[in-house]
């Protein structure tokens, strides 16, 4: 399956070639006049920089501190967490009330002949620990080792009736009595037990870099990820479902290897990337807690992510002229493969499982990307750039007919799988003209064609144009104004897919629909010579899906940012920031294609505030101290306008406030005492979970999770020994 590039791709190519020829001719013409002056470094030269030589034989560096030997710091201490909180401990590893050890360090060794060793360790007493070790001989080789632990706590108040949570087999308690609704499940309350939904990711890395003489470089990196725990996934039998604690047992091995050859003005690199994913569980089976709707439909089986692999080779290169012309390009070819043995079409022994057209998917997707960028300065005050790109997903997975068994209950229709492919190609160019040292005018344009298979639209074209003014009316003030416009049009008609239950013919999927997008951005930056920096940004972006009578129809995004930092006094730094963002979007719909029309309007608002200060020479007890306060608030408000009635859902809201105080006090020349205090409060409201007990929804057995909320404080004392 191949798709040809058409008009817009040719235009983009022509534009880029024109840009290249202009840049090249100007660059060549410029070469003679742009030789490196012996007394003047070649500023703006893409090829580098050269200071005149000087005799340094008498420069003894006798006042230079020693650079060899061991140095660094080691820290140890203890901390205390005031309360249990899964949410507070997420990614931090501080989910349990009580004391915890603190251990870490930053140690390095440097030898006389360039040998070195760097060791860093952080949070060794927690699951969220990290270790880094790097050593070698500077300029010759480098070996890297790393370990990271990332705990992810999702829910600490979930409850389930299933045994075997986190394994591939979930069973109901002995004597469970089915019911048609959750309210009728007589053993529900007595069977519910706590289940923690959490995962832990551990990553181990090993890398080696070699420099072969002055021109060759070699690099190889291995990473092994292991992620295990549980996640929540719904399992259904037609219109009844149960939220299940399914296992996560993932291992991913990745390899990055490259060989590079570098010269003064050009370099090339050949690289390989491999990713190999292994899932310890092929599926999860679960008992149906509801009354089976068909014989044998008392157990279901979900497929879990299949093992897969990805191999990719890349070739990259860059070339720089003696002037300002620079060309960089990359070609990448990859292959995704997946051939895990299929599960049977059903686990229901009362149904003769339909024959499968094949034993495994034999899935294969070839990916091809190509990018080239040319940039340069054809005139002293004019820089220009052109870029071409190509991205193809060529899905070679076989297409076959599969007889469906719906919900492990009944034989259903025959479906053909859809191995989606796409081809994206385009180009863009931009110019920057420096009117003066205080003002630059910029502009650019781009065009992209996107071809797809097996979807409602075969091809779309997106064109964009933008203009920007950057200026400095005074030495301290910078102003930037940008306006961009983008339009996406279908190049083919919108053809709804042939489905048993049809889509609304007026639906336009937002990623395929015609769209106009406008962006306006204004920013001011003020920097005083006293060190005060103030930044203000205002941005508005609107999306209009002009022809989408059903589906996402519009979006309006407005944001404001204010950033202030400075030194109000000697050895004191202070900062503050504020941002507010407001997003309104409308989704149109219609019940059952011809019944009541409706519009769901979602209004998102976000606000983030932070202030802080650091005293490098604190006047009392501590030598260094500081405070940091942040507050983040987010609210989603959804109005459903239907049948002349507007119903407003309860707000989806989160509020996080944190205060951190820290101080360091020297105990002697080598040892510091560090004290840290953090208090954090989080509140969340979500109608999706608030008041939703396991038996609230008649046809869905949930885990009864509530929305998280906590106020937790942490105190930590650390002794740091420096050497």
């Amino acid at each position: 399956m191949y798709m040809d590039s058409h008009g817009s791709g040719s235009h983009a190519l022509l534009g880029a070639l024109l840009c290249v020829s202009v840049l090249s001719s100007a660059a060549w013409a410029q070469q003679d006049g742009d030789q490196v002056d012996a007394d003047q470094p070649a500023a703006g030269s893409a090829s580098g920089f050269a200071l005149p030589d000087v005799d340094t034989s008498q420069w003894r560096c006798k006042f230079c501190p020693p650079t060899t030997g061991w140095s660094g710091s080691i820290e140890a201490g203890a901390g205390y967490v005031s309360d249990d909180s899964f949410r507070f401990g997420d990614y931090r590893g501080l989910e349990e009330q009580g004391a915890y050890p603190v251990a870490g360090g930053d140690v390095q060794y440097r030898g006389d002949d360039g040998d070195y060793l760097d060791l860093t360790a952080r949070d060794l007493g927690l699951d969220a620990r990290s270790l880094r070790a790097e050593g070698g001989r500077q300029g010759a080789y480098r070996l890297r080792l790393s370990y990271d632990g990332i705990p992810h706590f999702i829910s600490g108040d979930a409850r389930t009736v299933y045994s075997g949570a986190g394994t591939s087999t979930l069973t109901l308690p002995n004597g469970w009595t089915d019911a048609s609704t959750t309210g009728g499940m007589s053993q529900l309350d007595s069977s519910l037990h706590d289940v923690t939904i959490k995962q832990k990711r551990e990553r181990v890395g090993l890398g080696l870099d070699l420099w072969g003489g002055s021109h060759w470089r070699y690099s190889v990196d291995f990473r092994h990820d292991r992620k295990e725990g549980k996640r929540v996934q719904g399992g259904n039998f037609f219109v009844t479902s149960a939220l299940l604690p399914v296992p996560v047992d993932y291992e991913t091995d990745q390899v990055d290897a490259s060989v590079g050859y570098v010269r003064d003005r050009w370099q090339v690199e050949a690289a390989y990337y491999g990713s190999f994913f292994d899932d310890g569980n092929q599926s999860v089976t679960w008992d149906n807690p509801f009354t089976p709707i068909a014989a044998g439909a008392d157990r279901g089986r979900l497929a879990l992510p299949p093992d897969n692999r990805f191999n990719q080779v890349m070739l990259s290169g860059a070339w720089r002229s003696r002037g300002t012309l620079a060309v960089v390009g990359r070609l990448a070819y990859g292959r995704m493969e997946q051939d895990e043995q299929f599960l049977p079409a059903t686990i229901n022994s009362s149904i003769a499982a339909p024959a499968l057209p094949r034993g495994n998917l034999d899935g294969r997707v070839d990916t091809r990307t190509a990018n080239v960028r040319v940039s340069g300065r054809p005139l002293r005050d004019l820089t220009a750039q052109g870029e071409l790109y190509y991205d193809q997903r060529d899905n070679k997975t076989p297409r076959d007919a599969y007889i469906q068994v719906s919900s492990d209950a009944t034989l259903g229709e025959t479906r053909l799988n859809r191995p989606y492919s796409y081809e994206k190609s385009g180009g863009k160019g931009s110019v920057d003209y420096r009117v003066s040292s205080r003002m630059t005018l910029s502009g650019g344009a781009g065009s992209e064609r996107y071809d797809r298979t097996l979807q409602e639209v075969d091809a779309t074209r997106t064109r964009s144009v933008w203009a920007e003014v950057r200026g400095s009316p005074t030495d301290a003030l910078g102003v930037r104004v940008r306006q961009a416009h983008e339009r996406r049009d279908r190049l083919s008609s919108y053809e709804p897919l042939d489905l048993t239950s049809p889509e609304n013919p007026r639906l336009r999927k937002f990623d395929l629909a015609n769209r106009e997008r406008d962006l306006t951005r204004v920013s001011f930056d003020y920097t005083s010579f006293e060190g005060l920096d103030v930044g203000v940004g205002i941005e508005r972006s609107t999306d209009d899906y002009m022809d989408s009578a059903v589906g996402l129809s519009s979006s309006d995004d407005m944001s404001y940012t204010l950033d202030v930092s400075g030194s109000p006094a000697e050895a004191v730094t202070a900062y503050g920031y504020f941002s507010y963002r407001d997003i309104r979007s409308d989704i149109n719909g219609q019940d059952n294609i011809t019944d009541a029309q409706w519009t769901a309007t979602q209004m998102d608002a976000f606000q983030t505030v932070g202030i802080g200060t650091v005293f490098e020479e604190f006047p009392w007890w501590f030598r260094k101290a500081g405070v940091d306060v942040t507050y983040s608030w987010g609210r989603s408000r959804i109005d459903m306008d239907k049948a002349a009635t507007v119903s407003r859902f309860p707000n989806l809201e989160t509020r996080v406030a944190a205060l951190r105080l820290f101080g360091q006090r020297p105990l002697n020349k080598s040892t510091d005492l560090g004290l840290d205090y953090l208090i954090e409060n989080l509140e969340e409201d979500s109608f999706y979970q608030d008041g939703v007990a396991p038996d609230t929804i008649p046809n869905v057995l949930t885990l009864g999770r509530g929305t998280p909320g906590y106020t937790v404080y942490v105190i930590q004392a650390t002794l740091r020994y420096k050497f």
């Binding site: 469906q404 068994v405 990623d511 940004g537 950033d563």
Partner: protein
């Protein structure tokens, strides 16, 4: 509603206003390249360290704990012109200054140094341009925007903050305030907790991929940690194969799983088949009314839980 006409008018209006503000200040001025080079110091670093010692207002001695000061590596500054390899010849800066006169700054990397960003970057690139990370620097967004190497890097620091996972985001937030706000939202990647850095996904030194991502495509970047989503699957969900950001906001969201919005509204942007997918859910479906699994809990994903694709032969509707 056609926005292109109003968009163009807005652009013209803004341009006219901007030009009228900026034009009076746009008198041509000379380039700030500092003119002819001053002479070198007599003794190199020994000259500089007479003033820039451990009591200096600008701490510099930590550089001797960094790779830049490894004299056994003849590529480093301190194996050659020492401080002046980067700061430029410092003869004028180091010599005696007449009473009442200001001390001239070194040519580069000083508070009032005359060299501009491009020339200072050329200093760094004279050694570091051949690193593979900087292969796409020229023409990249940061280079075109005039970002200086020292805007992000602290050369004199024993541990450059931008190269420390927990400290790097703070450096990026100096310019990327919008992303800072997003990272503080309720659901985000573990950047705020210090477990991930911006460079885990982005290549700040320049990239040929959109948004300066490290891998050739958005999805390939995501798959480096979320390989279970790669597939290919027997039953694919088309937007998943194209672009994860069609449904997810990787910098942070108010919604679990970093979704841009929650189901059913997320799904009803693209699905309106006759039957339950097309029904506009109202507050009647809340626990206070007739609680509905089409809205509450996981909403659509209570049943259609294989949103990223399914390899089950009977998983065509992403529920097996």
């Amino acid at each position: 509603m056609r926005a292109s006409g109003s968009g163009i008018r807005a652009a013209m209006t803004i341009a006219i206003i901007a030009l009228s503000i900026l034009a009076p200040a746009s008198a041509a001025e000379g380039d700030d390249d500092g003119g002819k080079l001053p002479p070198y110091t007599e003794a190199g670093a020994d000259t500089c360290l007479k003033c820039h010692d451990e009591t200096s207002r600008f701490p510099v001695l930590s550089i001797f704990k960094t790779p830049h000061a490894v004299m056994a590596d003849d590529r480093t500054p301190f194996a050659g012109k020492q401080c002046e390899a980067c700061h430029g010849p410092g003869g004028d800066h180091a010599k005696r200054v007449r009473f009442g006169k200001k001390r001239p700054p070194p040519p580069a990397f000083g508070p009032h140094s005359p060299w501009g960003v491009e020339k200072e970057n050329a200093v760094c690139l004279s050694c570091h341009r051949q690193d593979k990370a900087r292969l796409a620097w020229h023409g990249g967004v940061h280079q075109r925007e005039g970002v200086a190497c020292v805007d992000c890097h602290r050369i004199h620091a024993r541990r450059d903050p931008v190269r420390v996972t927990s400290e790097q985001p703070g450096v990026c937030y100096d310019c990327h305030q919008k992303q800072r706000a997003e990272m503080h939202r309720a659901y985000a990647h573990p950047v705020r907790e210090g477990r991930m850095a911006c460079s885990d996904c982005h290549q700040p030194h320049g990239s040929l991929t959109e948004a300066m991502l490290d891998r050739p495509t958005i999805n390939e970047t995501c798959y480096t940690c979320h390989a279970e989503k790669r597939g290919p699957f027997l039953w694919e969900h088309a937007p998943v194969t194209e672009d994860c950001t069609l449904c997810h906001q990787p910098h942070g969201s108010n919604n679990p799983a970093l979704l841009t919005r929650r189901p059913p509204f997320l799904c009803q942007q693209c699905h309106s088949r006759a039957g339950h997918p097309s029904i506009g859910r109202t507050t009647d479906a809340l626990p206070s009314g007739m609680p509905s699994g089409f809205l509450l809990g996981g909403s659509c994903t209570n049943c259609h839980s294989q949103v990223h694709g399914s390899n089950h032969p009977s998983g065509a509707n992403l529920s097996r």
